[in-house]
């Protein structure tokens, strides 16, 4: 019967001891890495000490076993017997060390758990913080994008409306509840006669008519708006402007009115043109009537005058009848003069037009009238432009025009004054302008539109027929010119309004094709 060989156990023991030493040191290596990586981690510290004790135990035991095998097989049993207690003692000691290390594991784990829990809480808090920060970042980015987008849109919108505001040909304004203008465009400033906004700038102060102002304020406060409100503004230079105003009240969030905003369209030009058209139409109608009446009356008047003069031959010049016939003849002539004037106004009278110098025409008239004007303490100032372009006209009729204008000036200056006669050339319009300005009483605004009407006069009955300016108007129109009146008269240098009246006669300059033209 054979025994059980122990060689396999020796081989396993030898090889296993080596492997155990190797593996225990590898574990120790990684435990060292862990401690280096996280020195404050208690668990890694425990594992390092545990692995250290295990490595020490493994080396003690493994080396002991290897030595035992080598020494016993080399028949050095005596030496092994001396080393054996040391090896066993170390083994025991190191096993106890490993076991002891585990004793501290419990408290170490508790600390680790606490740290881990705190770390996890911290990590969770950090994660939430990061999430919140991320969310905030997203919101911030979104808000930034939104703000940028809105700013861009707002900028575009602002630019659009600013462009509209600045370049509008109408007045666009914003004012507070008291009417103080807070913002106004350049057109508005120009309309009100300013280059830049003055210190005190109140819209309500420019209303010319108090009634219109009351209506405007009432509509704004009651309805919150006015639409196409026709009114007159008086600009800083005193000129009136016809305005078509649309305005809205501005309310705050509590519904209280804080001001208003509006757009005003300057209708002055349109209004003047309309007035002029109406006037021309009226004058044309009156002219037609006057022409009809004059033709009808002219013939009977001629017969009355003829028969009167025939009868005057039959009566003694010293007798009463003769005297009566003289009165009839004189009054009939007056009537014929009126009829002749009416025909002139209605442009029915004959006309011989030639190239003439307007300065000469005026000088001819002044040669006759200046003496009488001087007697009335009226000085005449000539401000003629030399080498004035010639005009096509009927010299006699044009003389009549200036006689009428000087007569009117004389009547306006009962206590004396000055007549300033000016001639000039407007190359842009290709017209010659003659103005007769007096320093008299002036013409009231309410009668200005009527002064060219036939038979309209401010003189006492019997002192004027009211045909002077009508005839003047008719003659100028017959010459394709225009006549305008200004009262009071603005001073050329300062623009200040001066008392008096100025008539401006504009006649077209003669050109080649407008050569002498005679018409009946």
């Amino acid at each position: 019967m054979t025994g059980l060989p122990l060689l396999p156990t020796i081989v396993v023991d030898f090889t296993g001891s080596g492997l155990v030493i190797f593996l225990s040191f590898m574990a120790l290596r990684y435990s060292y890495f862990l401690v280096k990586l996280q020195p404050k981690n208690f668990i890694w510290g425990f594992l390092f000490y545990f692995c250290f004790a295990m490595a020490a135990f493994s080396i003690s035991r493994g080396v002991g076993h290897i030595l035992r095998i080598i020494l016993v097989l080399e028949e050095q049993e005596a030496l092994w017997h001396r080393l054996s207690p040391w090896s066993g003692g170390f083994n025991t000691l190191l096993m106890i060390s490993v076991a002891s290390a585990t004793i501290y594991y419990h408290s170490g784990l508790a600390a680790y758990k606490a740290i881990r829990s705190e770390a996890e809480k911290l990590a969770e808090a950090n994660r939430k913080l990061a999430e919140t920060a991320d969310e905030l970042q997203k919101v911030n980015t979104y808000l930034e994008d939104m703000v940028e987008e809105r700013t861009l849109a707002l900028s575009k919108s602002e630019k659009k409306f600013r462009h509209f505001f600045e370049n509008s040909k109408d007045m666009v304004y914003f004012c507070d509840i008291g009417g103080k203008i807070t913002d106004i465009n350049q057109s508005g400033l120009r309309m009100l006669g300013f280059d830049s906004p003055p210190e005190q700038f109140n819209l309500l102060s420019f209303f010319k008519d108090d009634r219109a102002l009351d209506q405007y304020l009432a509509a704004i406060s009651e309805n919150g708006f006015v639409s196409d409100f026709e009114m007159e503004l008086e600009s800083s230079d005193g000129s009136a402007r016809h305005i078509l105003l649309s305005a809205n009240a501005i309310f705050d969030k509590n519904g209280f009115m804080t001001g208003c905003e509006g757009i005003a369209k300057d209708m002055t030009r349109l209004r003047n043109m309309t007035d002029q058209l109406i006037k021309q139409e009226k004058m044309a109608s009156v002219g037609q009537v006057a022409a009809g009446v004059a033709h009808e009356i002219n013939t009977p008047l001629g017969i009355i005058l003829g028969y009167t003069q025939l009868m005057m031959d039959d009566f003694d010049k010293t007798g009463e009848v003769y005297g009566n016939l003289q009165v009839i003849e004189r009054q009939t002539k007056v009537c014929r003069k009126i009829v002749a004037d009416l025909l002139k106004f209605s442009r029915q009278s004959g006309s011989a037009k030639i190239e003439i110098d307007l300065n000469e025409i005026i000088e001819d008239v002044l040669a006759v009238t200046e003496h009488y004007l001087n007697i009335s303490h009226i000085q005449v100032s000539r401000r003629f432009t030399p080498a004035l372009p010639r005009v096509i006209g009927d010299a006699e009729k044009l003389r009549q025009v200036f006689i009428n204008l000087f007569n009117n000036a004389q009547h306006a200056m009962a206590d004396g004054g000055e007549i300033i006669v000016t001639t000039s050339h407007d190359p842009a319009a290709n017209e010659v302008i003659a103005s007769v300005r007096d320093t008299g009483t002036g013409i009231a605004d309410d009668i200005k539109p009527k002064i060219f009407d036939p038979f309209f006069t401010t003189k006492e009955v019997g002192k004027g027929t009211g045909l002077g300016l009508s005839v003047t108007y008719g003659i100028i129109r017959d010459h394709d010119g225009s006549i305008a009146v200004e009262s009071p008269v603005p001073e050329a240098e300062t623009g200040r309004k001066m008392q008096g009246t100025a008539f401006y006669v504009r006649l077209p300059v003669a050109v080649e094709k407008n050569a002498i033209n005679e018409e009946q």
């Binding site: 060689l7 296993g16 225990s24």
Partner: protein, 154 residues
């Protein structure tokens, strides 16, 4: 307030001191004492490993795979201890006559091959448990390290 443990310790000390007779200050240590201490160390080691296994298993705060390998290590090394302890005991039980060619390559367990001899033979193969245990420990530590480094990398 004093804890019951402290009160018990004080009372026990008093009781032990009251009947004191002769005191042998220096005690001699005989030959088997080293073996006993070694065996007790194995027991202590086993207890420590069992505790480490039990506690790491029940602790939910240790989710790492490294702890699983550490438990494998504990498990294997526990049985290695048991095997080594058995081997040590059997070394005492077996007499020199139970071996043939002792101290040579040809060393054998002499017939008849009894149960204890077979157990002794198996116990001598304890590295079949020890090596895998240390391998598990190595893998465990490596896993801990890689995970810790990855966590720091985040």
């Amino acid at each position: 307030m004093r804890s019951p443990f402290h009160t018990l310790t004080i009372l026990l000390t008093i009781i032990l001191l009251l009947p004191a007779v002769n005191a042998w200050a220096l005690q001699s240590h005989g030959e088997p004492e080293g073996l006993y201490v070694h065996q007790m160390a194995h027991f202590l080691f086993m207890g420590a490993l069992a505790y480490l296994y039990w506690h790491t298993r029940r602790t939910t705060a240790l989710p790492s795979k490294g702890w699983r390998y550490l438990r494998i290590f504990c498990f294997l090394l526990f049985f290695w201890n048991l095997m080594a302890l058995t081997g040590h005991e059997l070394s005492v039980l077996l007499a020199p006559e139970d071996f043939i060619d002792i101290g040579t390559w040809r060393e054998q367990l002499a017939p008849p091959i009894t149960f204890f001899k077979i157990i002794y033979f198996i116990a001598k193969m304890d590295h079949f448990l020890n090596v895998p245990a240390l391998l598990a420990l190595f893998i465990s530590l490596r896993t801990f390290y890689l995970e810790a480094r990855a966590e720091i990398g985040k």
